[in-house]
Amino acid sequence: MVNITTESVTPAETTAPLKKVRKNRTLGRMVRNPSFMIGALIVLLMVVAGVFAPVLAPYPPNQINFMALLQPPSSAHWFGTDELGRDLFSRVLYGAQTSLEVSAASVGIGLFFGILIGLLTGYIGGAFDEWFVMRVMDSIQSFPFLILALVIGAVLGSGLGNAMIAIGFGFIPGFVRIVRAQVFVQRRSEYVQSAVTIGAGTTRILFVHILPNILTPIIVQATLGLASGVVAEAGLSYLGLGVQPPAASWGSMLHTAQGYITTSPWLAIFPGLTLAIAVLGFNYLGDGLADLWQPKKN
């Protein structure tokens, strides 16, 4: 006869190693995904540049120096100086701060309203969804993104806060559509039906049960939205409707640079190159996350 000794094993003890294996596997997949790694590295560098700009910048961003107007790149001024003798490298670093602030806040606005409206309309469905909410979203999306931001900017006035609102408003329909589509799938699933059966309220079902299960595509879209936010902020500032002088913004730097393109091309090269690298980073990160989390779709 075989003696079978059974030890009492708690659920926590059995799931802990499993969680560790899953975590290691996810980390391994992340490291092996070049899009994710390149994107994460660029975004990390941008965040460090933005957050630590006061420490990293060799000069104050608005320090005018009439003795060093339009200096080409040198050891004293790595990216050269602008028409007021301000150090371009320092301004590019502070520009990262502005860019991150505006894009993060505008994606935040889009996320907040997009999730709220998407959850509700997806769950309620019917005529409210099809004939009201989605038609409102259609009508917002009928305005080209930048034209919408420009028009909202025209009504609210220029400035950092208004640029965030103007860009964020344009993000709402995209998030609503993603959240709504996911809710359509999830609301028929067994776990939601079980929650309904045991009497869970709508708010609980939406925010405690459904939302955590649909976060993956939302995060992917938010990451790609950050890239659009960076470009939109630069575009608005280029046109003079975003961040106002003397605050540093890549877009407003490019606007100034255009006037000096024949004599001082570095004024356009460095802010534009940094902007392109930042967008590349967010795009790669978004694509990498999509590869990791939604492999079937990719």
Binding site: D129, E130, W131, M134, R135, V136, D138, S139, I140, Q141, S142, F143, P144, F145, L146, I147, L148, L150, V151, G153, A154, V155, L156, G157, F184, A227, V231, A234, G235, Y238, L239, G240, L241, L254, A257, Q258, I261, T262, P265, A268, I269, G272, L275, A276, I277, V279, L280, N283, Y284
Partner: protein
């Protein structure tokens, strides 16, 4: 097909109504008295009262809206507050430049993206595909307005190949017109080409894995015939959709391109109107931009509904 068509057009009606409400509300969303904001703080009470009268701001809101919609339906978008010229005339003068730029950009994108997308899908994982993927990433990341400035620097400042600004209408001189449009088309077209290339590659790659393609191969049909006659037809449906959706983004992007290259288009009209607080022109421009997008989206939907019968059957939800 009839019910699909009717449903699609029916769904456009509330959108048109909502767009009209949004555009009409613009002037009322200005913080404070719109007339005072438009004229500035130094305006006399008489001037403010006259502008309020001109804009119809003294009437009840619903009457203002109905008056405005009635005028719009008769092609009257009001008078520009900057120069008292009819907004419809201003848009009519500027729109051809933007439409030419949009068509040029779109053609450029299709010419670049379709062959490269097909090549990339056929050579999946090979060197050509990797190069195309890298080029796509670059194309998607380089902001068109920076590219525009750098193209100006390279081709105008350094090589003296193109004029830095100025627009010659197509009807006046074809050669000079193409010369003035080449750099703006290149600046906006590269991004659009990258989006289309990515879509064509993904769509064709998926179709090439489908059972019917495998069956066609098993029957001994030649590779290029499979791609041209079987796979491409199916793969192009999402590409057409994407092209339609790109129009909205493209119109927005052209605003900046026109500003960089000093093109007298619709976008630069809007930007100038914003700076001169010409709210009637802003309203008119926003309305026309939205109508263009709605029309293109409707045409795209009808087009691919016509091409692919599955879409007519399944597109039920908003």
């Amino acid at each position: 097909m009839g019910s699909f068509l009717a449903r699609r057009i029916l769904l456009t009606l509330p959108v048109l109504f909502l767009v009209s409400v949004m555009v009409f509300s613009l002037i009322h969303l200005i913080p404070g008295d719109p007339a005072r904001v438009i004229l500035g703080q130094d305006a006399t009470p008489g001037a403010i009262a006259a502008l309020r009268e001109q804009l119809g701001l003294n009437k009840p809101l619903i009457v203002q809206y109905l008056d405005w919609v009635g005028n719009v339906l008769h092609g009257n978008l009001g008078l520009s507050l900057s120069n008292q010229i009819a907004v419809a005339t201003l848009i009519e003068q500027r729109l051809p430049v933007t439409i030419e730029l949009a068509i040029g950009t779109f053609l450029f994108a299709v010419i670049i993206a379709l062959p490269l997308g097909i090549l990339s899908a056929i050579k999946r994982g090979k060197f050509a595909d990797l190069v195309a993927a890298f080029a796509t990433s670059l194309g998607l990341s380089i902001p068109p307005f920076w590219l525009g400035i750098m193209l100006l620097f390279a081709f105008t400042v350094r090589l003296h190949l193109f004029p830095s600004s100025g627009y010659v209408p197509l009807t006046q001189n074809v050669g000079q017109n193409l010369q003035s449009m080449f750099l703006p088309v290149l600046a906006t077209g590269i991004r659009e080409a990258a989006v289309l290339l990515r879509m064509t590659r993904a769509s064709l790659a998926e179709v090439l894995d489908a059972d019917f393609v495998r069956t066609a191969r098993a029957k001994g049909i030649r590779g290029y015939r499979i791609i041209l006659r079987h796979a491409l037809k199916n793969a192009l449906v999402p590409v057409i959709t994407q092209s339609g959706l790109q129009i909205a983004g493209l119109l927005g992007g052209l605003v900046i391109t026109e500003t960089i290259f000093s093109l007298p288009g619709f976008g630069s009209l809007l930007v100038n109107a914003i700076f001169s607080r010409d709210y009637t022109t802003i309203q008119g421009s926003a309305l026309v931009a939205a109508l263009l997008v709605i029309l293109v989206n409707l045409a795209t939907d009808l087009c691919y509904g016509f091409i692919d019968p599955r879409i007519r059957m399944t597109r039920g939800e908003g």
